[in-house]
């Protein structure tokens, strides 16, 4: 996946991203950055939920152009879990995931079957026929993940997937994420502003700050950028140094 010279903003003249270029390697990447760094914006552009002012995002050379077939093909390749998971009133979890699958181009029957599989992958078997509005916060985030993977995308974009979860739930969610994204050829980008989300789950780390990519490389290189004590402090130190808040 290539973000190619993207410029984008929500208000005219105020770009959040300017000439932003980043080639994301296959595998799992964590996108770190403080609030307002542009992580969600970048993932929304990657999902084609927002259109850049200039530049393009590409997957295998495919660009989502408006009124063009390539847009549907591109969207078919991408799964997106937005930061805020919303629930359709009155729908069961499986119905909601199946609807998302249908929107992604699966037939109704395929979507229904795929929804069952996706619900099982995220550990929601047994409650898939309950109304999604009765799910707990953690279950709703897993529902969001199931929605994102139901059509078996090539690129999975997870926007703050563990936000709002307690430490135990986060650990569980990471395990689910790991198994759900354990497919050859799948590219995963998960954004977070919490450095303790960084784990050996990820192959690559990228640090985004004020719309600028401060670091993108293997996790080991990222850790090397820290001060070299225990891992948590190293991660925090590396992160702080990269976003320019190094107090040492």
């Amino acid at each position: 996946m290539l973000f190619d010279q993207l410029t984008f903003g929500y208000r005219r003249g105020r770009a959040v991203l300017r000439d932003f270029t980043w080639e994301v390697p296959p595998g799992r990447t964590v996108l770190l950055g403080p609030n307002g760094a542009g992580k969600s914006t970048l993932l929304a552009i990657g999902a084609d939920a927002e259109q850049p002012w200039s530049g393009a995002v590409r997957i295998d050379g495919l660009v989502p152009r408006r009124f063009h077939l390539s847009r549907a093909q591109y969207r078919r390749l991408v799964g997106w879990m937005p930061q805020h998971i919303r629930i359709v009133p009155g729908m069961t979890g499986r119905e909601q995931v199946a609807y998302a699958g249908w929107l992604k181009g699966l037939s109704r029957r395929e979507a229904w079957d795929a929804a069952g599989t996706a619900m099982a992958m995220v550990g929601l078997s047994g409650i898939e026929d309950k109304r999604a509005s009765t799910y707990s916060g953690g279950q709703q985030r897993r529902l969001g993940l199931a929605q994102a993977i139901v059509h078996r995308p090539r690129v999975l974009l997870l926007d703050e997937p563990t936000v709002g979860l307690d430490p135990a739930q986060r650990q569980r969610f990471r395990a689910i994420m790991q198994s759900a994204s354990d497919q050859p050829g799948l590219t995963v980008i998960a954004s977070t502003h919490q450095v303790d989300d960084l784990s050996d789950l990820y192959d690559t780390v990228a640090v985004l700050h004020s719309g600028v990519l401060r670091f993108a490389g293997p996790t080991a290189d990222f850790l090397a950028a820290g001060s070299g004590k225990d891992q948590t402090r190293t991660v925090e130190a590396a992160y702080a140094r990269l976003i320019g808040e190094d107090q040492s």
């Binding site: 078919r76 997106w80 805020h84 009155g90 909601q96 998302a100 249908w102 929107l103």
Partner: protein, 426 residues
């Protein structure tokens, strides 16, 4: 959960959808409200079909509200905001398709009850198709509009707004009595069409434009990105279509019809050429003796009588009749009164009446009763009071030439806005 539990719960989930429960509920309400009307057209006629199809007027707001509810539900769940592979049109179709199908089925059910099924007229086929397609188009546009509003508004707001907007569109114009033409913009023509007329192309074009406008507004709300820009464009499209449509229908009167043309079944009797529409040819044998007796009575009273008696409208120097099996079975009162109406062409108020009043109109009651009694209809059936009836009875005791002279003088007075000569009051 067992498979039977699963299928039961899936069935129950489907039954909760408005597309499943709304059509029978709305169908029952529409049927009873139409059956409660004072006068229902004969089954197996285009008029009955038009009235049955007009149930779409009741359904449209309900189904628009349901469509808004369903789409707002999806929008609230964030599904409409997901970058979808399916085009928005497919999403609209999945949301609105079952609702539209349900609404059409409800209309069909009313048609079966009111008009008979399968009712497809051999004549007036164009009008039958036009009325049917127009009603379905109104329902489709209402559903699309509802989906569009649901995409843009919270559930509790979208549904009432869709219901209200659609109600304003399909129900309010029919209640406007001055001017009359706004009712023809709705696309539901419940007052159309007796055997002698077909739907006016102007009414079809005008109503189609407005229907397209509302459907377009719904699509703009569905497809557009910025809310205010979409809403502005939607309002502009509706306003433009209503303006063009209004220009198309503003010359029409109460009924959106034009006279029907085509071959007729004719017979000759008592020097009269009597013509009926082909579908009424079998009524001619029963109608001719009545026509002949009325003609003889009018001739005996020295009243002018054209040589042609026909169901075709708009033909000069003819008596315009409408044949109906029901009327012929019940004394042919309607057929006899058709002669009364054609005996004097000036029943409408003169142009000056709007400013100066029409005091001479008091004579019309006596003239109508007098004519009705000549053609064999009891004057009281026209709503005349016993006093009016007694006055006409006094007139009838005079020689027939005197009565005719009175009639001619009263007819002349009726064309003016002056007070009638007291001598003319029988």
């Amino acid at each position: 959960m067992t498979s039977s539990d699963d299928s039961t719960s899936r069935w129950l989930r489907r039954a909760r959808r408005p597309a499943v429960w709304l059509p029978p509920v709305a169908g029952v309400v529409a049927t009873f409200s139409l059956l409660a009307l004072d006068v229902l057209p004969d089954r197996g006629t285009l008029s009955a079909w038009a009235l049955a199809v007009s149930s779409a007027r009741l359904y449209a707001p309900l189904f628009a509200g349901a469509a808004a509810w369903e789409s707002a539900r999806l929008a609230r769940g964030g599904l409409t905001g997901l970058p979808a592979v399916r085009p928005r049109a497919a999403i609209v179709l999945r949301l609105g398709g079952p609702l539209l199908a349900g609404a059409v089925l409800a209309v069909v059910a009313v048609c079966v009850i009111l008009a008979g099924w399968p009712y497809v007229p051999s004549a007036q086929l164009g009008s039958w198709i036009g009325l049917s397609v127009s009603a379905v188009a109104v329902l489709a546009a209402a559903v699309i509009l509802g989906v569009g509003l649901g995409f843009r508004m919270p559930q509790v707001v979208a549904s009432p707004v869709a219901l209200l907007v659609t109600y304003l569109w399909v129900a309010i114009p029919a209640g406007i009595s001055d001017p009359l033409w706004p009712r023809h913009l709705v696309g539901v023509f419940d007052t159309c069409c007796e055997a002698a007329v077909v739907i006016s192309p102007d009414a079809m074009v005008g109503a189609s434009l407005v229907t397209l406008g509302f459907a377009g507004a719904g699509l703009l709300l569905t497809l557009g990105r910025a809310w205010w820009r979409s809403a502005g464009a939607a309002v502009a499209v509706v306003a433009l279509c209503v303006a063009i449509g209004a220009n198309q229908v503003r010359a029409l009167e109460y009924r959106p019809e034009i006279p029907r043309a085509g071959a007729m079944a004719c017979q000759t009797a008592a020097d009269l050429n009597i013509c009926a529409w082909p579908e009424h040819a079998d009524l001619l044998d029963e109608a001719i003796p009545v026509v002949v007796s009325v003609a003889e009575a009018m001739r005996a009273a020295n009243l002018p009588l054209p040589n042609t008696v026909t169901e075709q409208r708009g033909v000069p120097d003819t008596v315009n009749i409408t044949l109906s099996a029901d009327d012929l079975r019940n004394g042919a009162v309607g057929l006899r009164l058709d002669f009364v109406m054609s005996a004097h062409p000036g029943w409408d108020p003169p142009a000056c009446a709007a400013q100066e009043g029409w005091p001479s109109s008091v004579l019309a009651v006596y003239m109508l009763v007098w004519l009705a009694e000549i053609v064999g209809v009891d004057g009281t059936r026209l709503g005349a009071t016993a006093e009016d009836h007694a006055a006409v009875a006094r007139l009838q005791q005079r020689p027939i030439d005197t009565q005719r002279a009175w009639f001619d003088e009263a007819a002349a007075a009726l064309k003016t806005c002056d007070d009638p000569d007291p001598d003319l009051l029988p």
